[in-house]
């Protein structure tokens, strides 16, 4: 059986599994799916939350970004896990006690203002659409490889599949489907990593393999990696990064995690306040299984790629284009891997041609520039091919990548559509809308969001994980501060919260649009996206905490100048701070 058929078979089987479980779970319970969540064991619920949370960015993109930079991109690892500590300590139990279903609903009630709720809806939509762009980018890469088409074609196929998938609707809400998706995702991620870790270090546990000895050379793996990358003019893998940017970027991802509407919603629906605390912990355990493996995948893949290109070691000539390995041929089809024979010697020179100290050495070896460009987003998917693992492992990783992208995209699209149809249309613009029309509005807004995300995904503002990171920055600047102030301060009032959200959102958006183009449309940026242009050297991806700070400052300042919230709101805040008296969550 050839690889193409095998891919179709395994990806098809995984889809059949999800649909099967969805049908089975529906038949098993007639209650609405939120109620089903309450009967689910907190451990399984944590697994489902992990599947919901880990997107194309975590699965497809992150290890590639770590591989490309090394230590400097540890920010993704810390940022996307550390946010759960904030969620568990600062938000989840109190929002569960409050007992409503959407984030704008909480903001509208706590700040006793329809205006605040409207602003929250706008924040939610901007954050979620940006996030979906990242998912589409990742899903497009996965589809382009396993269907062997150009990446833009892959993207359109992805958007059609996401549309069908999200419109099936309830699928996302059914915890058991997500449990299955988690299992597919983690198995697909771990199996190739175990193989590769065994090949390189003899240790079957990748997170331990990362810090073990490289079997072939007898030196520690990371030391070996540092050596080969610096020999090619790249920065040392474990070398220092910019402390200010790493700190701000990590903070942005952490605060953003705690401000993402589709993640917060998970904690509204657990049975009890105590469970909200536990389930954040269990979710992080399951997320950590992937996140502890990712840095090993990154480092080992980087080493494997360099080994393939320089089979005799980096001092020896590179492999010739004619004899390039199959994985390069396969990925050339997608357009995500490119070779250009700059010095016409037919060999593939891969090195850092921007390194000033390396030019002399390159000239001496007759190199006329780097000849191979590898898109970071292909690394995890290409990893089993690079390590020459069996065909079914290659197919499995495609299934895993798609599970990650689709589950998260569907979750975000549901958050967008329910916000538009419920918070915006039903509770505000057209109160008397029929259920049927409401559903129609929900579907149209979903289709609209997919279309926008696909069009922008054709020329994404960055790799999947970087685009997603922008969504986190926006969530950090707009939603997290207002939720936290709503719980921890009795003094912040409706005017303060509204102004705070607007300031955080607008300033952050302006900063992003300045470098990445208005509404991320390529070519409309006012300044080139290079470090020399950044305000205090802060890249757009790391701006979130600054936006959050401005949000807090504006909210406190405006609140101090205006009247305190009414008595009953202060009592509401008192009551959400203690678990006692939490009823079941109130439905829509």
């Amino acid at each position: 059986m050839d690889q193409y058929t095998l891919n179709l078979l395994i990806v098809g089987a995984s889809f059949a599994l999800y649909i099967g479980i969805a049908v089975w779970a529906r038949a098993g319970s007639t209650a609405e799916f939120y109620a089903a969540n309450r009967g689910v064991n907190p451990v399984l619920n944590g697994m489902a939350t992990a599947a919901d949370w880990m997107s194309a960015a975590s699965f497809i993109s992150m290890a590639g970004l770590i591989a490309g930079v090394g230590y400097g991109n540890s920010t993704y690892l810390m940022g996307w896990t550390g946010g759960y500590v904030l969620l568990a300590l600062l938000l989840a139990p109190y929002l569960r006690k409050f007992g409503k279903y959407t984030v704008p609903q909480f903001i509208g009630d706590r700040f006793y203002s329809q205006g605040a709720r409207l602003v929250a809806v706008i924040c939610l939509i901007i954050v979620s659409v940006t996030y979906v762009i990242g998912q589409m980018t990742g899903a497009g890469v996965a589809f382009s490889r396993f269907l062997e088409v150009e990446v833009s074609t892959g993207l359109w196929i992805a958007s059609a599949v996401v549309f069908v998938y999200a419109v099936l609707g309830g699928m996302k809400g059914i915890t058991y489907t997500q449990v299955a998706q988690y299992v597919v995702l983690i198995v697909a991620y771990t199996i190739p990593a175990i193989f590769i870790s065994l090949q390189l270090t003899g240790n079957p546990i990748p997170p331990l393999g990362l810090f073990s000895t490289h079997t072939e050379s007898g030196v520690p793996l990371l030391q070996k990696l540092d050596q080969v990358v610096t020999d090619l003019g790249f920065n040392a893998y474990t070398g220092q990064g910019s402390m200010l940017n790493m700190t701000l970027f990590t903070l942005s991802l952490m605060i953003g995690t705690a401000g993402l509407p589709h993640v917060i919603i998970r904690f509204f629906t657990v049975p009890r306040v105590a469970d909200a605390r536990w389930s954040a912990g269990w979710a992080l355990v399951f997320i950590a299984l992937l996140y502890l493996t990712a840095p090993a995948v990154g480092a080992m893949a980087r080493l494997n790629i360099i080994d393939t290109i320089f089979p005799g070691g980096v001092e020896q000539p590179a492999v010739s284009y004619e004899q390039r390995p199959d994985w390069m041929r396969n990925w050339e089809v997608t357009g995500l891997l490119k070779y250009e024979d700059k010095n016409s010697d037919g060999l593939i020179q891969y090195y850092n041609d921007a390194a000033p100290g390396f030019t002399a050495q390159a000239t001496e070896r007759g190199w006329a520039g780097n000849e191979l460009t590898i898109n970071n987003d292909i690394l995890v998917l290409a990893n089993p091919e690079i390590a020459q693992l069996p065909g079914w492992v290659i197919a499995l990783i495609a299934a895993g990548g798609l599970a990650a992208a689709l589950s998260t995209a569907a979750g975000l699209l549901l958050a967008i559509s329910s916000s538009v149809s419920h918070d915006l249309i039903k509770d505000w613009l057209v109160p008397g809308i029929s259920e049927k029309s409401e559903l129609m509005v929900a579907r149209v807004s979903m289709a609209g969001a997919i279309l926008v995300a696909t069009l922008l995904g054709l020329n994404p503002p960055g790799f999947a994980a970087q685009t997603v990171a922008l969504a986190f920055g926006l969530a950090a600047a707009s939603i997290f501060p207002v939720l936290m102030m709503g719980i921890f301060s009795k003094r912040v009032n409706s005017a303060g919260a509204t102004v705070g959200m607007l300031v955080g959102l607008i300033v952050t958006c302006l900063y992003l649009f300045t470098y990445l183009g208005w509404f991320f449309i390529p070519g409309t940026n006012m300044m080139e996206n290079i470090p020399a242009n950044y305000l205090f050297g802060i890249p757009p991806t790391a701006f979130g905490p600054i936006g959050a700070l401005l949000n807090f400052a504006a909210a406190y300042a405006v609140s101090a100048m205006t009247a305190a919230p009414p008595r009953h709101i202060q009592e509401l805040v008192e009551s959400i701070r203690v678990p006692r008296g939490a009823g079941g969550a109130i439905g829509h």
Binding site: Y71, S74, L77, M78, T81, G82, Y84, V85, A88, L89, L90, P93, P207, L210, F211, S212, T213, V219, P220, L221, L222, Q223, K224, T238, Q240, G241, M243, M246, T247, T250, L251, R272, V273, A274, R277, W278, A280, G281, L284, V285, A288, Y291, L292, P295, E571, E574, S575, R577, V578, P579, R580, G581, A582
Partner: protein, 86 residues
């Protein structure tokens, strides 16, 4: 709130434990993983230094421990102040 003093004491105790946990959260990630890494560079670990390990693995393990510790602590605190769910 019927019993304001008790609920204030409960909240104060909660804020205290949150502050302690977040201090540890910050020290392992922003501290050991980023800002204090040069200070830890003398401690070698698996072909690199301890700061690299904290940035790529250690901090994640500490995060998990922190959440479970907080959940256990708060469940006890809820009972002590009689504000647990019935």
């Amino acid at each position: 709130m019927a019993d304001n003093t008790s609920s204030n004491a409960y909240w104060a105790a909660n804020i205290r434990i949150i502050t302690i946990c977040l201090a540890i959260w910050a020290i392992v990630s922003y501290g050991f993983g980023i800002l204090l890494r040069p200070l830890l560079s003398g401690i070698r670990f698996g072909g690199t230094d301890l700061g690299f390990w904290f940035a790529q693995q250690g901090s994640i393990l500490v995060f998990i421990a922190l959440i479970f510790y907080y959940a256990t602590y708060m469940n006890k605190l809820d009972r002590k102040f009689g504000v647990e769910e019935q």
